[in-house]
Symmetry: C2
Subunit: 332 residues, 2 copies
Amino acid sequence: MAGQESLGEFELIARYLAPLASSVPGAYGLRDDAAIIRAPAGHDIVVTTDAMIEGVHFLKSDGAQRIARKLLRVNLSDLAAKGAEPIGYQLVLGLPVPLDEAWLEAFTAGLAMDQKAFNCPLHGGDTTRSPSGITLAITAFGAVPTGQMLRRGGAVAGDDLYVTGSIGDAALGLEAKLNGRLFSSAAAMVFDARLHLPSPRLAFGAGLRNLAHAAMDISDGLVQDVGHIAAASGLRAVLNADSVPLSQAARQALADAPELLSVILGGGDDYELVFSAPPAAADRLRDLSKLTRLNVTKIGYLEPGHGVGVLDSAGRPVQLEHGGFQHFAGPA
Amino acid sequence: MAGQESLGEFELIARYLAPLASSVPGAYGLRDDAAIIRAPAGHDIVVTTDAMIEGVHFLKSDGAQRIARKLLRVNLSDLAAKGAEPIGYQLVLGLPVPLDEAWLEAFTAGLAMDQKAFNCPLHGGDTTRSPSGITLAITAFGAVPTGQMLRRGGAVAGDDLYVTGSIGDAALGLEAKLNGRLFSSAAAMVFDARLHLPSPRLAFGAGLRNLAHAAMDISDGLVQDVGHIAAASGLRAVLNADSVPLSQAARQALADAPELLSVILGGGDDYELVFSAPPAAADRLRDLSKLTRLNVTKIGYLEPGHGVGVLDSAGRPVQLEHGGFQHFAGPA
């Protein structure tokens, strides 16, 4: 960096990005116009795109490494939800000038760490100047055996509804970050970590092939995303709010402030899997949970109709204030 | 639009984007987390990404329809340069709020027009709010018979260098737009059209498979891009400036202002193909040119060494001021 007035586009690519593609013969060292994606024989290629824009999805103060890891992980979470195993990704990297090389170094270190952990190397992309903020997007590719991609629209009346892991920590982290809500320092750390570093449930998702009827990852909020499965499947979902799995920290926060239920069920960024499966799948789901060391909890069921009903354990409707995240929704 | 205070993300997708994906079964109406890309048996999938950011690559006043068409076409040009035939694309659409629906309607109309013309439908993507300007990116997929993707690095000493079409019009258009350079009104129209609406050379690129040794499209300027082929192939390129094909309008502009040679050879946005082929390919290239109704011109050759030499017809070195486009290059 010393003595470097202006890092050019080609030096940026050679120094920071090409090492991320070095294991991929079809990426040609990022020195060609395009890359080749290869899937194993008998597989479909699944593709998904998620963008993250400074001031909308993150603040620069979140830290370059965490931003990079979240960017890759939210895309991997979509692959997980479709039962796909990662192949690789394309990166859009829009940066203000002059380039902040320390930021870039930490950002690419974050990508390096997680692309290795999840076996999903860089294949190509585009770097550009961005006049007023960091602009990021990843298009990720995965492989599923032909015809076995998990869909939102495959649920059947009588299916049970399940989620992996626990719900609401990330939304509580956002509540602390944006609205200044105070939690115990231990809880605040849990929530912040879940907000900034989701865990793509890849092994669990791959295990759901031929087991779940419908699946997606929870990014916009549990209730809204359950609604997407219901709508795509032409069914009504019934959710038991009391059975939604919470972390110990979230349980405590909810006990202290019951109005947080809306945040927990309606917030987003969980990146857990929500899926439907027939009652006969229960044993195999328990086995999959053990094998992947990931809790899975039945939270409801699907029936004829449309929409989402949220009930408590006594069967009474639960009122929620928060409808879930929409990118363009403004004040009413 | 009337009576609509705030168009939500899901309505935006359903109204403006889903129709662009209606012909693709694997796009699931843009209502799932991911799409399936399918290539014909015996083909590799080629992937390329190009972003366009307001204030860097375009101005909003360029017109939504032209911006959309250029965005798709610059990606298709990369597929053309690799000998690939389009399969489809993922779109990143970052828009300021409140949404400008008239803009969005014209933008998606532009995409509709060109994705039909080039047989490259939308498969999926991500829509988001963008705080301070329109942010666009496309990741496009194409198919080439396995192992036949055209590369930058395949040139052989003794190859001839060729370009399709004519060079410099778009750079002269940019010179008029950014630097206020005046041309005749007929010439200005030609240059402006070439700047805003490149023509991806898909049929020609497909014809170059098994014929060209190396190929790329010209986006950063002829001299710089020829340099990329030379560097990737470990060779030196020799370019005859006088044989570079110019449109009648560019020829006239150059006659009036000889210093424009640097702009023509060093500017960018041509989106023609530059490629190397052995002398024995000359007849087949002539046939391909006739078949595709696209001029092809020999502009130089490759020899052992490195770098690019630009000579005039008498073999004297030509000095150029303009090194080609780099996204992060600032003033020296």
